[in-house]
Symmetry: C2
C-alpha cells in the first residue's frame, strides 16, 4: 500500500496508518495545531486518486470537500493513494525568523552598572613536568599549581579528569584551566586546553520559545554578539501550544522525542554559527538559556506532566548548573548551562529574563510587562514588588484555532483597513506573494476596523445586510477578506474566529485588571507598558486598545522590547551579578493563579465585549466611537 505525492515521493503505508502519521514518519511535517486529532483543520491535503476511510470532515468546508480536500490526520488509505500537499499545510521547520538588532547589547549590559563577569574563568598554568623525584599524580600536580595561585578546594568532575592527562601531555604541561567560580560553594574545574587550541572564549544565549528558538553567539570577553541564528521549534510538529506538547510528552510517551527535537534545533543553529565563524566546539564554554516552564522541563528531559494538572506543579523552578554534555548540546560538553529560573508552571524563565531586560524591577515607576506569544504572560510591579500571572490567551494570535489564521510569515495579511462606507478592505501582506491567510496583527486590525465601521456590534457579531462580503459560510457567518480567483480560495474571518480572538483579548485584559486589583492599583497607575515577544513587533497599539486587549492609557507609555527573553538570557550569560538579579526577580515575583480566581472570571466576562462592557474604561475608544458616529448614519448602537 503506497502513498504517492505530487512531489514524486512514494511512501510505503503501514496497516491502519493515517496520512499525517505516514508523512511524519518520513520527515514531512504538516501544520497540526491539535497534534493530529482532527480538531484544528490545518493538515489539509488533497486526495487526488485512491480510496481512504475518512473519519471526520467537520473542519472542512463544502467547497473544500468538493475539491478533494481531506484532513491528513483523519484519512486512512485502504489502498494506494495519490495526494497533493498544499503549500500552506506544510510546516517548514527551519524558516529563519527576524532577530532584533544586537550590536548595542554590550553597551546595554554596561547600563546595568555591572562588569562583564561570566562565571567561567580561565587561568594559565605552567606546570613543572613530572620527574622521578617529583612524581605526584597529574591531578595533585594541578592542585599544587592552583594552591600556589591561591585557589584551593576546587572540585574535579569525572568529565574533567577523564580528559585531563591527555591534554596536560599534549600541551607540554603548559595549559589553560577553565573553571566555574561559584558564589555559594566550591569552584569547579571544567576543562583544560592548550594555549594554542581553544584560544577564544564564547558563550551562547538561547531562547527556547514554544514557537521559535533563537541563539546568540557571544564573545565572553567583549560581550559582543558575534552572530545570531533562529529557527522554528520543531516540536511544533507535535502541536502549537504547551498543553498539546505536555500531552504528547506524557500521555504520548514522546518526552525524549520532544527533547531531542528542540536540542537538534539548537545544535543545528550552533553548528552553522560555528562553521560560519570558524569556531570549535571546545571554544563555546558556557550556555545560558530561558524558556517557559514547559520548554525548560522538556529541554532537560523532565516530565512536564504535573504542569498541566491542577494544582499545576513544575518539577523545579531553579535549575542546578548542569552540563552541556548532559543536555547533548554541540558545544564544549563540560560547559555549564545556566537555566534562567522560572516562577511557576505558567510563568517561566522567559518572563524572568524579559523583566530583567526591561529593568522594571529596578525602577520606581510601576510598570506592566506583557509577553503575548504562544501563551500570554503578564507581570506588574516596580523595584519594590512584582506580581505575575498567565492569562491563557491561547495561541490564536499566532493563527491557531482561526480558520484562515497563520503566523506572520510570507503570505500573511498583517494589516487591514476597512472603508467605513463600502466596507471594502485594503490589505497589506507579509512578503510579495499572494495572501494565504491572516496573522495576529491582521486579525486585530480587522476586528477593530469591523467594529469601528459598524460591521460588527460590541459582541463581535456581524450586522447583516451591510456588505456582500459578510456572508453565510460553511462555519457560520464570515467576512471575506480576500478572494483568490485563480486558486478558488478565500481568506475569511468567521464569527467563530472573532469569538476566539475576543476570548483571548478578554483573558489578557482581565489578567491585567486582576493583577492590578490584587496589588491595589488602577489602570492609570501604570506608568510604562513593556510589550515583549515576537508578536509585539507587529502589534498596532491603537488597534489593540480599540479591541480592548491593551489598557487605554497614553500610547507614549508603551515600549516594544522585541525578544526580551533572549536579551535577558544574554545578560545572565555575561554577568554573575545579573544572574543573581534574575534569581531575585524569580523569587520575589508573586504568582497569581488566574484559573481559580473568582475575580479573574468576573473581569473576563466583562471584557468579552468590544472594547469592554464598561466603556468608561476606554475613554479614547469612546471618543473615537463618538466621532465615527457623528460621521456616519449607519452607526448601529448607542455608546
Amino acid at each position: 500500500m503506497q502513498l504517492k505525492l505530487t512531489s514524486d515521493e512514494v511512501i510505503e503505508l503501514r496497516q491502519g496508518e493515517d496520512i499525517n502519521s505516514a508523512l511524519k514518519r518520513v520527515g514531512i511535517y504538516l501544520v497540526a495545531s491539535c497534534g493530529g486529532k482532527g480538531l484544528c483543520g490545518k493538515c489539509k491535503v488533497r486526495l487526488l486518486q485512491g480510496e481512504a476511510e475518512i473519519r471526520s470532515q467537520a473542519k472542512l468546508t463544502e467547497q473544500e470537500r468538493e475539491s478533494g480536500a481531506t484532513l491528513a490526520c483523519q484519512t486512512f488509505p485502504v489502498g494506494d493513494v495519490f495526494v497533493d500537499i498544499p503549500k500552506e499545510s506544510r510546516l517548514v521547520v527551519g524558516d529563519k525568523i527576524a532577530v532584533a538588532r544586537t550590536k548595542d547589547l554590550a553597551a546595554y549590559l554596561g547600563s546595568y552598572g555591572v562588569a562583564i563577569n561570566p562565571v567561567t574563568k580561565r587561568l594559565s598554568l605552567e606546570l613543572p613536568p613530572p620527574t622521578i623525584s617529583d612524581n605526584i599524580s597529574d591531578l595533585e600536580r594541578l592542585k599544587r599549581a592552583l594552591e600556589e595561585k591561591g585557589l584551593s578546594g576546587m572540585r574535579f568532575s569525572y568529565g574533567f579528569v577523564s580528559t585531563m592527562s591527555k591534554t596536560l601531555r599534549e600541551a607540554g604541561w603548559n595549559v589553560d584551566l577553565t573553571y566555574v567560580k561559584s558564589h555559594d560553594g566550591p569552584d569547579e574545574a571544567i576543562f583544560l586546553s592548550s594555549p594554542q587550541a581553544c584560544t577564544r572564549r564564547f558563550g551562547i544565549a538561547v531562547d527556547i520559545g514554544t514557537t521559535t528558538v533563537v541563539v546568540y553567539l557571544v564573545d565572553l570577553l567583549s560581550g559582543e554578539v558575534v552572530d545570531t541564528g533562529s529557527t522554528y521549534n520543531s516540536q511544533m510538529r507535535y502541536g502549537d501550544d504547551v498543553i498539546t506538547r505536555i500531552v504528547q510528552a506524557t500521555e504520548g510517551g514522546e518526552l525524549q522525542t520532544l527533547r531531542e527535537a528542540v536540542v537538534a534545533d539548537i545544535c543545528t543553529i550552533v553548528d552553522s554559527l560555528r562553521e560560519r565563524r570558524g569556531i570549535s566546539r571546545c571554544e563555546i564554554e558556557m550556555v545560558a538559556l530561558a524558556g517557559n516552564t514547559t520548554m525548560a522541563h522538556i529541554f532537560w528531559g523532565l516530565d512536564p506532566g504535573s504542569i498541566r494538572e491542577e494544582p499545576y506543579i513544575p518539577t523545579l523552578n531553579y535549575f542546578p548548573g548542569w552540563k552541556a554534555g548532559t543536555a547533548q548540546l554541540s558545544v564544549n560538553p563540560q560547559a555549564p548551562v545556566y537555566t534562567v529560573p522560572c516562577v511557576a508552571s505558567y510563568v517561566g524563565g522567559d518572563i524572568v529574563a524579559g523583566v530583567l531586560a526591561s529593568k522594571m524591577h529596578r525602577n520606581e515607576e510601576m510598570a506592566l510587562f506583557m509577553d503575548i506569544g504562544t501563551n500570554g504572560e503578564i507581570a506588574i510591579g516596580n523595584n519594590e514588588w512584582l506580581m505575575a500571572a498567565a492569562c491563557s490567551a491561547g495561541p490564536c494570535f499566532e493563527g491557531s484555532g482561526v480558520r484562515c489564521g497563520m503566523r506572520a510569515t510570507s503570505g500573511a495579511i498583517e494589516a487591514v483597513k476597512i472603508d467605513p462606507e463600502t466596507f471594502e478592505p485594503s490589505i497589506t501582506v507579509v512578503g510579495a506573494g499572494r495572501p494565504l491567510g491572516v496573522c495576529g496583527s491582521g486579525m486585530i486590525d480587522s476586528i477593530s476596523e469591523m467594529f469601528l465601521t459598524g460591521l460588527t456590534d460590541r459582541n463581535g457579531k456581524f450586522i447583516r445586510g451591510l456588505s456582500s462580503r459578510v456572508r453565510e459560510g460553511e462555519e457560520g457567518i464570515e467576512y471575506l477578506l480576500y478572494r483568490d480567483e485563480k486558486l478558488n480560495r478565500d481568506v475569511v474571518l468567521t464569527e467563530a474566529d472573532i469569538e476566539n480572538l475576543m476570548r483571548a483579548k478578554a483573558a489578557v485584559y482581565a489578567g491585567i485588571t486582576t493583577l492590578l486589583k490584587e496589588a491595589g492599583f488602577i489602570m492609570d497607575d501604570i506608568q510604562r507598558v513593556y510589550i515583549a515577544g515576537g508578536f509585539g513587533n507587529y502589534l498596532n497599539i491603537e488597534r489593540a486598545i480599540i479591541l480592548g486587549m491593551l489598557p487605554d492609557i497614553p500610547k507614549e507609555r508603551y515600549v516594544f522590547l522585541g525578544n526580551s527573553s533572549v536579551t535577558g538570557t544574554y545578560l545572565c550569560l555575561l554577568s554573575e551579578d545579573l544572574r543573581q538579579e534574575a534569581e531575585r526577580i524569580a523569587s520575589q515575583m508573586t504568582y497569581i493563579e488566574l484559573s481559580v480566581s473568582r475575580s479573574f472570571m468576573d473581569e473576563y466576562m466583562s471584557a468579552l465585549f468590544l472594547p469592554h462592557t464598561d466603556i468608561e474604561k476606554f475613554p479614547s475608544v469612546a471618543s473615537l466611537m463618538m466621532s465615527r458616529m457623528a460621521l456616519k448614519k449607519s452607526w448601529p448602537f448607542n455608546p
Copy 2:
C-alpha cells in the same frame, strides 16, 4: 575457512587471523600471560587436521611439537583446521576463589573504636501535597522540608532531579531521601524512594585485583557481610600482569574493552548476590572499591599509559566521589563510589586498604606489610611514619613465566618434600585430580628443598649426577617433579624457572632491605610482618625464609591477613572516619621508587643467592644448613 574444535564448535575464520584471536572473538579465552605475543608459551593447542602458517614454536618442547602442539597466537590457518584445546590452556573465567571468613568483620570494625557511619544517610520526609495555594515546585517543596529539619544548602544532581517528581507522586509525598553527608562541602541528595520500596540499605566492598575480583555485600545498618562473591578478573584474557594490561589499553586501544571486562565481572557477582538475597538494584546505595593504581584507572576508564613510562605518573591517586552510574555498575546508579586512594603508580589503594586493615599505622611497633600477589608491594612503618615500594617481583609466583607454572587451583602441586638421600619428591596437589603444574608455594617448597638437600648450589644451579630426575630438557637442565605416564606429560622445574623465582624473591627481599635502610632501621627492628594477598594463604613461612625471600626473623612475628584489600575496603564502606584514616595513610606514606634506586640494585644483586650472599643475614638457615651438613656426606658446599 573454518576452525573446528573437538568440542564440536565451528568458528568462521577471518583472513589472516590467528587461532587465539579467532577463539577470543567468539568468547573462548586461552591462558595468555603475554597477551598473545608468542612469549609465554601458555596458549598451547593441538592442531589435529589442516594446514597453518606457524610463526614461532620457540616456547614448545620437541615432544610437544611432535604431538601436534602449537601456540594458538602464533598459528595462522591457511585452510580449514581441526583443533583440540587442552584443559590447562583454557582460562575458565568465573572460577570461584576462596574468600576469607567474614562473619567477624563487624566486630573487627568495632575494634577501631569507630561507629558504623556510612556517608550515605537516609531521612524520612512527609511532604504536604501541593495545592493551588501552596504550589511551589517539587524541588522547592523538598528543600523546604529539609530546611525544617535543619538541612540546607544540599546539592541536587541531574540524576536526582530527573527521577524525583515521579517518586514523590508514586509515594504519595511520603518519601525517604538518601543523601551523602560530606565532611568538606555541601551534602548531596542522591535518590528518593518510597518507604515501601527500597527499604533495606546495602553497600558493596569491591577488591579489584589484577587476578581476582572479590565483592562483599554489606548491610549498612548492622555492618554484617551478608554474602560474598568472587571471580577471576576477566581482563586476564589480555595478559597476566599490569604492564601487559597497560600496553593493551593504550597501544592496543582496548581501554574501554578492559574497563567493560572488569565492570562486567563485578556486575555478574553483584547480580548473583542480589538474586540470591532478593535485593533490588535500588537497595545497593553505596560502593567502596580498592585496586592497584592501574586497576583503579582502568575501572574508571582513565588512560593508564603514563603509569608505565618513567617517571611513572598516574592520572590521580585521590578519586573524587563519582557515581555508580558513571562506572555502569548494576547497583543504584546514584550510589556514590568511594575509591580507596592510591599512593603512586605501583602502590595502589589495595595496599592502603591493606595497611588500614592491618592497623600497623596505629601501633607503635614497627611493622612490615607485604602483598605478594601479581605484583609485589611492601610497606614499613608504624603510627609515626610509613614508607612503601613496589618491588616488581613479577607474576611468577602465580605461575607466569614458569614452564609448568600455574595458579593455586585444582591440579597445582602446592607442597613438595624431597628425600635428602634419594632426591625423590613427595608432592601434595590442590584438589583430588592428577597434577597439572606447580603453583607458587609448590615452587618455593621445591627450591628450598632442592637447596637444603644439596640438589642445587647457592646459585640455584643443579648439581649434576646426583639424581636421574635432574636431566637435560628442551630448555636446559630440569628436575622432574611428576611424570604423567598416561598423558605422556611431565611436570618439571627448569633451571630457568629457578632463575626466574630467584629474581623475584631477590626483588622482594631487596625491597625490604632498601626500605629499611632508607628509614634507618635493620631487619631485626621489624616487630611484625603482615602477609597479605591470596598468595599469603598458601605460603610456608619457613620455606620462604630458606629461599631468602622473607627476612629471617622469628616466625611468631608473621601474621597472615588474607585479602586485606577487601577488608580495608569494607572498613571504608562503613565508616567515614576510617575513610579519612585511609586518606591519611595514603598521604603520609612515602613512596620509594626502587627502579631508579642504586641501593636497591646493590641489595638485589646480593639477594640473588640461596638464601643470600651474606649468610649471616639468615642465621636460622645457616644453622639448618649446618645440621643438614652434619647428617649428610654429600653436602656440596661450605657454608
